[in-house]
C-alpha cells in the first residue's frame, strides 16, 4: 500500500512539474535570431555574386551550412573577422579565386551612348537602374552597391565603374593627403 501511495504521489508530482515546464516552454519561448539572419547582417549586401551564390542571403545560408567564410571580396578582412567571431571559426585570408578587396565603386552610365536595351536593368540586383526600352537608362547612384553585374550585359560597353568620390562628409581626416600649398615669402 505504501509503495502504491509513494508511486502515485511521485507520479502526480511528475505530471504537475511536466505541465509547468511545458507551459513555460511555450510561454517564455526565446525568439533567438536564426543564424542565417545574423550572418546576413554581417555581409555587405552588395549582392554581387562573387562568392558564387546569387546574392548575400544565399551565401549566408551556405555559410550556415558550413561553407567557407572567406569568399566575400567586397566585405574583405573586416567581414571575415566578424564572421569568424560569429561562427567561432578561424579567420582565413580572402580566397583569391573569388576576387580582390577593392575600393568602393559606383556604376555610371555614359548616357549619350546608351541604346536603351534594358539588359543592365535586368541584371541589377537592387533595382538601382532606371530606364525603359529604347529610352536612356541611368544609375541611381546612392542605391548602387557597386556590384559590377551591369557591366557585362551591356552590348555597347557604356557602363563605367568609378570609385565613390571623397566628399567633406565622408572624408577620413587623412591630413597627410591634403595638398597644402606653401605660401611663398614676400621678402
Amino acid at each position: 500500500m505504501t509503495l502504491i501511495t509513494a508511486l502515485s504521489v511521485l507520479g502526480v508530482l511528475a505530471l504537475i512539474f511536466g505541465l509547468i515546464l511545458g507551459f513555460a516552454a511555450v510561454r517564455f519561448r526565446v525568439e533567438s535570431d536564426p543564424i542565417v539572419d545574423q550572418i546576413d547582417a554581417l555581409l555587405p549586401q552588395t549582392q554581387c555574386g562573387q562568392c558564387g551564390y546569387p546574392g548575400c542571403r544565399p551565401y549566408a545560408e551556405a555559410i550556415a551550412n558550413g561553407d567557407d567564410i572567406n569568399k566575400c571580396p567586397p566585405g574583405g578582412e573586416t567581414t571575415i573577422k566578424n564572421l569568424s567571431e560569429l561562427m567561432g571559426v578561424e579567420a582565413k585570408p580572402l580566397d583569391a579565386a573569388h576576387g580582390q578587396e577593392d575600393v568602393k565603386k559606383v556604376a555610371v552610365i555614359r548616357e549619350d551612348e546608351c541604346i536603351g536595351c534594358t539588359k543592365c536593368i535586368q541584371a541589377c540586383p537592387v533595382d538601382a537602374i532606371l530606364g525603359a526600352a529604347k529610352q536612356m537608362h541611368t544609375v541611381i547612384a546612392h542605391e548602387c552597391t557597386g556590384c559590377d553585374l551591369c557591366v557585362e550585359p551591356c552590348p555597347v560597353d557604356c557602363i563605367d565603374m568609378v570609385p565613390v568620390p571623397v566628399r567633406p562628409e565622408n572624408w577620413q581626416w587623412d591630413l597627410q593627403q591634403i595638398p597644402v600649398r606653401v605660401v611663398e615669402s614676400s621678402n
Binding site: Q45, C56, R57, W171, P179, R181
Partner: protein, 532 residues
C-alpha cells in the same frame, strides 16, 4: 525653489574638471574697434555653410543680384539659405575649395561685385511680440542664421524644439586664445545683443537668460552691466578664465552645475545655448530685416601688420582678407582658420570666410611652433588630468591606433569635444585629437555603410519577391488562357457548331486517306508495269 535653483539664481559659479591655461594673446587683436573691410572684387559663397543639407539653388550664371538677396532656398532637403554678400553678377556656379580641413571642393557660387553694394532686405518686424512664433522662426531661417559660435547648427531648428526650459544661456565666453571677435562685438553692440537675447527668450518661451562672459573681458562686462538693469529677465555671469570654459557642456556645468548626458543635448537638462554673435544676427534679422551676410572675424598673429577685428562679408576669399590686413608671410607660412586650439590649417588661401569662421590666425613660426614628430607615450597621465569631459585620452589613442572602434565607443569617444587640451599638454607631441577625429570619421562611415547595406538588402529582397510574383503571375496568365480556350471550344460544340477538335481529327483523317490513296496508286502502277 530647490537649493540648486537658488544657487543658480544667486549667481553661484560651479567648476568643471580639467582645463588648461594657454597664453591668451588676445591683446594682439582686441585693442582697436571693429573695422569694415573694403569690398572685394569677387566673393565665393559656398552653398553649405552650416551643419545639415544645403538649400536649393535660386540663381543662374549671369543673374544680377543685390546684397542680401537669397542665392539658395530652403528646398526639399530643409537646408539653410545663403545670401549674396554684395550686389553684382553671378559669374560661376561650380566646384571650389571650401573652408574645411580636408581641402575638398563643394558647390560655390561666385559673385563679381559691381561696387554699388545696393542691398535688399526683408520687411523689418517692429514688434516681435505681435507676430506668431512660427513667423519669427521662419524669419530666422530665411535670414540664413546658423550658430556663429562654431558648430553652425541652424538656429531656427534649435529653437523649434518645444520643451520646457529653465534658462537660455548666451555664450560670450570666447575662451580660445587669440580670438576676440565676440569680445569686440559685446563691447560695441551690447544693446543689439540684448535685443537679440530678448527675442530668443520670447521664442524659447523661457523666463530667464544668463549671459556668460569670461573674466578677462572687463570692457565687455561693464558694457553689459551698464545696460542690464533695464532688463530684469537677463542676468550677467562672469566665469573664471580657463580653457575650454566656452564649450557648451562646460559652460552649462559652470553656470548651473548640471551635466548634459552623454550623447544628449542641453535641452535634455532644460537649457538652450546661443552664441552672442547669433543673438546679434537674430536681432538684425528680425528688427532690421537684414539677412546674415557678414560677421566679425578676428585676423591675428604676428605675421599680419594690422591685426584686429573686421566686419567681413561671407564669401570673402581669405587671401583678399589677409592682403587688406598686411599679410607678411614667412617661408612655409601656415594660415589657420579658427583658433590655435581647435582651428585647422587651410589647404589653400582662396577659400572663403563662411558663417562659422571666427578667426584667421597667421602665426610666426616662433609663436606657434610647427607640429613636431610624434614620440612614444610615456604614460604621464597629463592628458587625463586636463580632459574637461573626464575621458581617458591615452587609452583612447591606443584603441584608435588598434582600430578597436567598439572599445572606443565604450570609452565614450563621442563625448570628446575635440578641445585639444590633451594634445596641448602632451610632452610627447602626440596629436591626440587627430586620432580621435579620424576614429570618429571611421565609426560614422561604418554606420553609414551599415545603413546603406540595410537598404540594399531591402531592395534586393523586394526585387526577389517581385521577380517571384511576376513569374507566378505569368504562369497564372498562361493557365487562365488555356482554360478559356478549352471553355470556348466546349461552348462551341454545345451550340452545335464545329468542334475544332473534330476539324483536327478530320484533317488527320484526310491526310491518312490521301496517303492511303497514294499508296494504292503506287501499287496500281506497279501492277500495271508487271502486266506489261
Amino acid at each position: 525653489m530647490s537649493a540648486a535653483t537658488k544657487a543658480i539664481e544667486a549667481g553661484h559659479i560651479w567648476t568643471f574638471p580639467g582645463g588648461i591655461h594657454p597664453p591668451e594673446r588676445k591683446e594682439l587683436s582686441n585693442q582697436s574697434a571693429i573695422r569694415q573691410l573694403p569690398l572685394a572684387p569677387h566673393y565665393h559663397v559656398p552653398v553649405k555653410q552650416h551643419s545639415g543639407a544645403p538649400g536649393d539653388l535660386l540663381v543662374q550664371v549671369g543673374d544680377k543680384v543685390k546684397a542680401g538677396q537669397a542665392l539658395t532656398q530652403v528646398g526639399v532637403n530643409n537646408g539653410l539659405p545663403v545670401h549674396a554678400p554684395t550686389s553684382g553678377t553671378v559669374t560661376a556656379i561650380g566646384a571650389g575649395i571650401i573652408a574645411h580641413p580636408s581641402g575638398l571642393a563643394d558647390t560655390i557660387i561666385t559673385i563679381t561685385a559691381d561696387g554699388d553694394d545696393s542691398a535688399t532686405t526683408l520687411a523689418p518686424i517692429a514688434d516681435y511680440t505681435a507676430v506668431s512664433r512660427a513667423e519669427l522662426l521662419e524669419r530666422i531661417k530665411q535670414a540664413g542664421i546658423a550658430g556663429l559660435g562654431g558648430a553652425g547648427f541652424p538656429t531656427a531648428q534649435k529653437l523649434a524644439l518645444q520643451r520646457p526650459l529653465d534658462y537660455l544661456i548666451i555664450n560670450g565666453v570666447e575662451c580660445e586664445p587669440y580670438i576676440s571677435a565676440d569680445d569686440r562685438l559685446m563691447r560695441e553692440h551690447a544693446q543689439t545683443i540684448i535685443d537679440g537675447t530678448e527675442i530668443l527668450l520670447h521664442l524659447a518661451a523661457c523666463e530667464k537668460a544668463l549671459i556668460a562672459i569670461e573674466a578677462n573681458k572687463p570692457e565687455a562686462i561693464s558694457a553689459f552691466e551698464a545696460l542690464l538693469h533695464e532688463h530684469p529677465k537677463l542676468a550677467l555671469r562672469v566665469v573664471p578664465v580657463k580653457y575650454p570654459s566656452g564649450g557648451e557642456k562646460q559652460l552649462i556645468q559652470l553656470l548651473t552645475g548640471r551635466q548634459v548626458p552623454s550623447r544628449g543635448l542641453p535641452i535634455d537638462v532644460g537649457l538652450v545655448m546661443q552664441n552672442v554673435g547669433t543673438a546679434y544676427a537674430v536681432a538684425q534679422a528680425v528688427v532690421q530685416g537684414k539677412p546674415l551676410i557678414e560677421r566679425v572675424v578676428t585676423v591675428t598673429g604676428e605675421n599680419v601688420e594690422q591685426p584686429g577685428n573686421y566686419w567681413v562679408r561671407l564669401g570673402t576669399p581669405v587671401d583678399y582678407l589677409l592682403e587688406q590686413c598686411g599679410f607678411k608671410p614667412e617661408p612655409e607660412q601656415r594660415v589657420i582658420m579658427g583658433g590655435p586650439m581647435m582651428g585647422f590649417t587651410l589647404a589653400d588661401l582662396s577659400v572663403p570666410v563662411v558663417k562659422i569662421t571666427n578667426c584667421i590666425l597667421v602665426p610666426s613660426s616662433q609663436e606657434l611652433a610647427p607640429a613636431q614628430d610624434e614620440m612614444a607615450c610615456i604614460r604621464c597621465g597629463a592628458c587625463a588630468d586636463v580632459c574637461p569631459a573626464q575621458l581617458l585620452p591615452q587609452q583612447m589613442v591606443w584603441l584608435a591606433k588598434a582600430k578597436d572602434y567598439d572599445g572606443l565607443e565604450k570609452q565614450n569617444l563621442f563625448d570628446c569635444i575635440e578641445c585639444g587640451a590633451c594634445a596641448y599638454v602632451c610632452p610627447s607631441e602626440i596629436p591626440l585629437v587627430h586620432y580621435y577625429r579620424k576614429a570618429k570619421a571611421e565609426i560614422r562611415n561604418i554606420a553609414r555603410e551599415k545603413a546603406k547595406a540595410e537598404v540594399a538588402r531591402e531592395r534586393f529582397e523586394a526585387r526577389q519577391e517581385r521577380l517571384e510574383r511576376e513569374k507566378e503571375e505569368r504562369l497564372e496568365r498562361h493557365r487562365k488562357a488555356a482554360e478559356a480556350r478549352k471553355k470556348a471550344q466546349a461552348e462551341a460544340v454545345e451550340k452545335g457548331g464545329d468542334n475544332p477538335q473534330d476539324a483536327v481529327q478530320a484533317a488527320i483523317a484526310r491526310a491518312k486517306a490521301r496517303k492511303a490513296a497514294q499508296a494504292a496508286a503506287a501499287a496500281d502502277k506497279k501492277t500495271e508495269g508487271d502486266d506489261a
